[in-house]
Structures are given as C-alpha cells and as structure tokens.
Symmetry: C2
Subunit: 266 residues, 2 copies
C-alpha cells in the first residue's frame, strides 16, 4: 500500500511565522500523500480578549460557549487554515483546507457532561467527539495530489459546528485511512520526542513498543502528561496505523526519515 | 451536457438567519450539480469596528489593507463559509466550502492601481482580479455529488490571499465550467429582477436579449447601477454560459424554474 503521512502540528509553532513557514516548507517536500492537522494557537484567545468574550478554561481545556464557537470557527477554519493553505501554495504544494463540516469529512457529536471525556460532569459546551471520518472524500483529494489541511472544527449530524481536539482529529483520520494507505501518524510539538528526563532534550527514547512502554511506566520514567498521548498512539496502532512518531516540529524532515523523535511501534 | 447551477447570493441575505436558512433549503432541493458563491454581508464591517480597524470605502468598494484582509479571511472563509456549509449539511445537502486558495481553485493577481478596475489610480490594497479557475477540482467534487460553496477570497501565484468580488467569482466559475456543463448563472439579490421602474417591483423584465438590451439602454429604461451587471451577464453568455438569471434570493425555486426574475439570453 502507498504511504500516507498524517501530521499534527501543535499550537505553539502556529504563532511563530518563521518557524511555521520552515515547517510548511518541510511538509511541502514530502513526496507521499499527506494530511496536515493544525491546532489553534494563541490567536483565538487573543481575539476573544479583544472582543471581550471571557474564556473559561478547565484543566487546560477551553469551554466553548456560543460566542467562543464563533471565534474558533473564524480563527481555526478561516484565518489559520487559509493562511497555511496559501503558504503551502507558495511552496508549490497544492493543498486544500477543510473543516469537518466540509464534505461531512469529520462528523462528531456534542460531548455530553456524562461522557467519560467530560471529566467530573463538566459541560464543555460546543465541543465535539469524533464519530466518523469520510475517508473516500479525503482519498479523492489525495489522489489528485492535493494535501489536505484539517482545521479542528467538526460538525454533528444536525449541522452544528463543534470545536474538536486536533490530536483526536489526527488520530481518527489516521485510523480511518489505514485501510487505504500505509499510514504514519506524526505528532509534532515543541519537545524532541518522548524524554526519559523531561528537562533534558538529549534523553529522547528512540523507540517504544508495548513491552518497553509497560516497563517505562512501571519504573515511572514517562512524564505523566505524555501518558494519554502514548495510550492514544498504541490505540492508533491497534486500529491499523503502521507507526506513530512524536517529535519536534522544527525537525519534521528527520522525523519522517526516522532520524529524530520517538517512534511508537507494535 | 449536464446542467450546472452557479448561484451567487448577495450580502444582505447573509445577515438574516431565517431568510438565509430558507434560501439554503431551496438551494439544497436543486437536484443538478451546483455551486454557491457568497458575498460578505455586514459581519466583516462589524468585526472591524469592534477591533478598531478603520474601514476605508471608495465608491462602495472596500479598501483591503493588511488588517482588513485578516478580518475578511476570518469572516468570509471561516465564519460565513463554514456556517453555510454546516446549514446545508443539516438540509442533507453535502457541500464543501472553499476559498480560492484551496486546491488553487481560483487564482488571481493583485489589482494594480493602473488596472482598468482600479478606477482613477486608486490602490485597493489586497484585492484580487481573477485569472484562472481550477475547473477539474471543482468537477471532481461535483461528480461526488458535493455542492461547492465559494468564499470571496482568492490567492495569487505567490500564495498571497486576496479579497475578491463575489459577482466576479461567480461569473468566472460559470465561464470556466461552461465547457463541461450546461451552465446557468443565477445572481440572487434583494430585487425581483431587472426592473423597468426601479421603485416598482412589479415591473420585472422577464427576458433580455442583446437587441432588447440595446433598445432598453437607448431608451434609458435600465437603472444605471444595473448596467455593469448586465454587461457582465452578456460577457458570460459570450464565453459559453447558457443563461443568466437575475432575481430575488427568497424566490430561488422560481428563479430556477423560470417563473420569476429576469433571464438574460443570447
């Protein structure tokens, strides 16, 4: 099967024009079919402040009320998504920017306060948990040599837009396309990979498989905040994704070539 | 050839949720392949005001400086476009929302102050005049029974986003697709059609062809503001579009069935 890269780019790099541009240049040079999933960055928070829309955060998660949904739709699906697409076009990488509503490509449902993700009965507002990915539409675009750029906004079956975690979108897209492609899922962020010592960027663990993961956890050598990411990575592998790579956004070339970051394999 | 409708929806209806919803319901019921091109409405002006970005208008045209470009990109390609797409999904009309940057589907160049459209040497800022429409991408989406919703934002060959007149986008898309479809171009707005008496909505001219147009102009029976629209309509017909219809957005069903509005034919 043909290789497909699903690459999640973290929020912080989106706020730095030069780093973002360098990242997009590296992304453009990938010859295989590719999907880029972007987060939100600080723009939405900044705009909300300018407009006097108070932002409520619980455990680092944004509560998406109706006014905040308007803002994230504008910023994620409008500003960030179209600027990434335009920049990719300037690097001669033909790309198309979509929200989950477009072609119903990522359909979700509003998270209930009784959902396992709605920890402690919290109402997260207009937040969606993914139910389905329209892989045939995505494939039809990839087949036309078009890179797909996904904004973290989805839609429910009643046409309600919903704010959705970009990590989850990347994972669900990777899983859904794993029947059609040999999928590698890349989480790129500000760290060099999964670290043995969270304060030392030289302690990247090159490879983690289920047995070494078990041992690392038993020895409490994995930073707590990393555990949900790794659990999700193994879940993706069990759903057909070939490999998950976690590493630094500025090293995308090396992440792809296997010379940097942490590879999670079965 | 199969029929294709390219339908432009004017700005004013976008600001009225109920009218817009009714329009989108009518749009959804069209069985043929279809493209919707939307304008901007008052949202961008409102947001600019809230953010303290001063708007300069010359002859009813917005001067698009860098800050205004950010605003119209968010509002047109983010807010309005995604809300229309989500609403269409709720009416079981699968649709995809694109800016011109997406798949390079509408490529333009920045209007120079020496352009014939840059009347009197005015610098309109980040405004684009259309050069090319990627009809193969649009066709591949229409072939998947997906309605295309175009925002009035385009891109130049250097990846610069540009604010672009929605009427022009509708016309250029209609012309570009006229080799592949039997294209009807519908301009829907607040008036019932081309009127003999601009203050009397019952004086709609049912059909205009080149000879009756000449006569109407000689007799000064056409409202001056209508002449550029009609000139563009005849230009579209000369470029292969089958029919141009001008009429009331709230009467979309009847416009399509030929029972309302003005038909411009060769």
């Amino acid at each position: 099967m043909e290789k497909l890269y699903v690459i999640k780019i973290g929020g912080n790099i989106i706020d730095e024009a030069e780093k973002l541009n360098q990242f997009l240049q590296s992304f453009s040079s990938i010859k295989s079919p590719k999907i880029l999933v972007h987060g939100g960055g600080k723009l939405a928070t900044k705009l909300a402040k300018q407009l006097g829309v108070e932002q409520q955060m619980i455990d680092g998660r944004r509560i998406t009320d109706a006014e905040t949904l308007k803002i994230v739709t504008m910023v994620y699906a409008g500003s960030i998504n179209k600027n990434i697409v335009a920049k990719l076009q300037s690097h001669h990488c033909n790309s198309i920017g979509l929200s989950g509503a477009d072609g119903n490509c990522i359909v979700s449902h509003k998270r209930g306060s009784n959902s396992p993700l709605g920890v402690g009965g919290i109402d997260y507002g207009f937040v969606g948990d993914v139910d389905a990915v329209n892989s045939s539409l995505l494939k039809s675009l990839l087949d036309q040599n078009i890179a797909v750029v996904l904004a973290p906004i989805t839609v429910d079956t009643n046409g309600q837009l919903l704010n959705t975690n970009a990590d989850t979108i990347a994972q669900e897209a990777a899983k859904a396309l794993s029947g059609l492609y040999d999928v590698e899922l890349v989480y790129s962020f500000e760290k060099s990979g999964v670290l043995l010592d969270v304060n030392d960027e030289t302690t990247v663990i090159a490879t983690i498989d289920p047995s070494s993961y078990k041992k690392l956890k038993e020895e409490k050598k994995i930073f707590e905040g990393m555990i949900p990411k790794l659990d999700n990575a193994f879940a993706a592998l069990q759903s057909g994704v070939t490999k998950v790579i976690i590493g630094k956004a500025e090293e995308l070339d090396q992440l792809i070539s296997g010379n940097s970051g942490t590879s999670i394999v079965q």
